[in-house]
Symmetry: C2
């Protein structure tokens, strides 16, 4: 029909067809109230008909604003991050910003590369997960003037403002709970602490809590990749090597899922024979068998607040500052008093 749209319409084309200058076309979009009503409506009409929309590259070039923010996270393939990013992205969208997500895997050693890539791509702000430990990355951030916020960890002396929670305190709270129940023989299923300060803090909390209560078990920290299968295997190992254990602290509900499953398989009844607790409060955790006692993490809140904070920083409304979010322990049925016989 019409004309073939080889190359998209530009202000120029619209101006021509509407019989005005390109300046007026531009203004009809960006400064509507400075253009006479009927002219504006005419222009907008013509533009609409031609399928015109401003070229984002030209706009970005001229305005020095891409309206892009970047996020670098371990993986999307892990509900707790997907949930945060989902909210982050949606919140940013309401501010007319789009989000580009890059993943690193759980070892944060490539965050710097990904962050650089994002900034080279025009990201005006960045969300990262966990502490920034790469010195080069730190230097880069300090000299680059793009707002960066880190999530999932709350750090008093972090390189950048954090919107996260206190991993150490969270694990401490659930350890205290288990101790108050009477447990004395603990094990922990943890992720690799390499490049992952969340895991390190949780492990440290475990170790410290044991020491505080003059309990042994600091060596019973099983480190595994994050998967249900690995949680199951770790549970198996605990059962074989440390049959005295009455409470297993999992650093993610994924491990707990596997552990629960494995207990069923090896004939341990949870929580009668052994107590198991998780971390994250995944959507399925309340529907596990038995329902999992775990720590609820403010994933959506982190995403939303990070989006709001970054946007405020970008528009100069408010400097970035850290926010400490709360975790809550969800007491369900997977943990109870240790068996008498132990």
């Amino acid at each position: 029909m019409k004309k073939n749209i080889r190359t998209k319409a530009t202000v120029h084309d619209v101006a021509l067809k509407a019989g005005v200058s390109i300046a007026t076309v531009s203004r009809a979009f960006s400064l509507p109230d400075v253009v006479k009503t009927e002219v504006r409506e005419h222009v907008l009409n013509v533009a609409q008909k031609m399928g015109y929309s401003p070229n984002p590259a030209a706009k970005a070039l001229r305005l020095r604003k891409t309206h892009i923010v970047g996020a670098v996270i371990p993986t999307l393939d892990y509900a707790i991050f997907a949930r945060m990013i989902n909210t982050f992205q949606e919140a940013l969208a309401t501010f007319d910003y789009i989000t580009i997500v890059l993943t690193t895997g759980f070892d944060n050693s490539s965050v710097y590369d990904k962050a650089k890539l994002l900034i080279d791509r025009g990201a005006e702000a960045l969300l990262v997960v966990g502490a920034i430990e790469d010195k080069a990355f730190e230097k880069f951030i300090r000299s680059s003037a793009v707002p960066v916020v880190s999530t999932y960890s709350f750090l008093k002396d972090g390189v950048v403002p954090c919107i996260g929670f206190d991993n150490y305190a969270a694990t401490t709270s659930i350890m205290d709970y288990l101790v108050s129940l009477g447990h004395q023989k603990f094990a922990m299923i943890a992720g690799s602490p390499k490049g992952n300060d969340r895991q390190r803090h949780r492990i440290q909390a475990y170790v410290d809590c044991l020491a505080k209560n003059r309990l042994d078990g600091a060596q019973r920290v099983i480190k595994r990749p994050f998967s249900i299968e690995d949680g199951a295997q770790a549970m198996h190992e605990i059962h074989q090597l440390h049959p005295e254990v009455t409470a297993v602290v999992c650093n993610t509900d994924i491990f707990a899922f596997g552990a629960l499953s494995e207990c069923r398989k090896i004939g341990l009844t949870v929580p009668k024979d052994i107590s198991i607790v998780g971390f994250d409060d995944a959507d399925y955790s309340s529907r596990l068998d038995p329902p999992l006692t775990t720590i609820a993490v403010p994933a959506e809140e982190m995403g939303r607040n990070a989006a709001i904070a970054l946007h405020a920083a970008l528009t100069g409304k408010k400097k970035l500052h850290s926010e400490m979010l709360e975790t809550t322990i969800k007491v369900r049925a997977s943990a109870t008093k240790p068996p008498k016989s132990s």
Copy 2:
């Protein structure tokens, strides 16, 4: 120390400091072999030191290439999509493309808006989920020359090429399996069919399969939003209203998770009292209690293949064409013969 980087270095700055023309700087990056080795190295060095990197907006404007592709999916907060997008994004990254993901919720009625947004933002290609049913969107695609691929459904006569699987055949296969086991009283837990052709095809397969075997039960299709809790409630309803049912076909493992959990709660033993099957083969499904019989969906494969196909189309290497991917039924323990007494 050095100079404060108020505004990023440009070819101009680098040229000045390196004592060459801007053209040479540009060439040192884009056409390295056309510039004398020592000059190139000098320039690259200076650039490196100044923290120079080409402005993506200027580049995009000049080259008419943003190196961005867009994806519109229901939600990230659902493992099966997150998994696909994760792979999609990673594959595209190896081609130097970045991915922008927008979400619509499960009702696809806003795909058109999101797709337009993406293209206005410079996306050179698009991935969508499911059939394109919005006529306006269809028209837009036909006139816009950006490659679009749809995933999750394989459609013979789709508006755009599909990289997906046959939802109808998948459900048919698992229905046939259940029928062969001897089941006669079925129910289905489905998502809303509105704007969701995957659900419609699965429901249709269920209905047709019943008819084919002269079985009733076509009216026992419970439609719910996608959540574990909803799966549980649906199961509850089936148990109350249709106690004669011996096999429940869930259109996602999420429903099956809830259904299994609810059966435990109301005292039904799976699969002795009732058989339950799922769809997706989530990471947890083999570790449910009992392990879930379900349909494995090629999520990563769709993501990877879509990335490769889109990239090939973008570089003119190969026209987009549909790919029919396979699903496989994972026979595990949650389905068996119906109880004799029924």
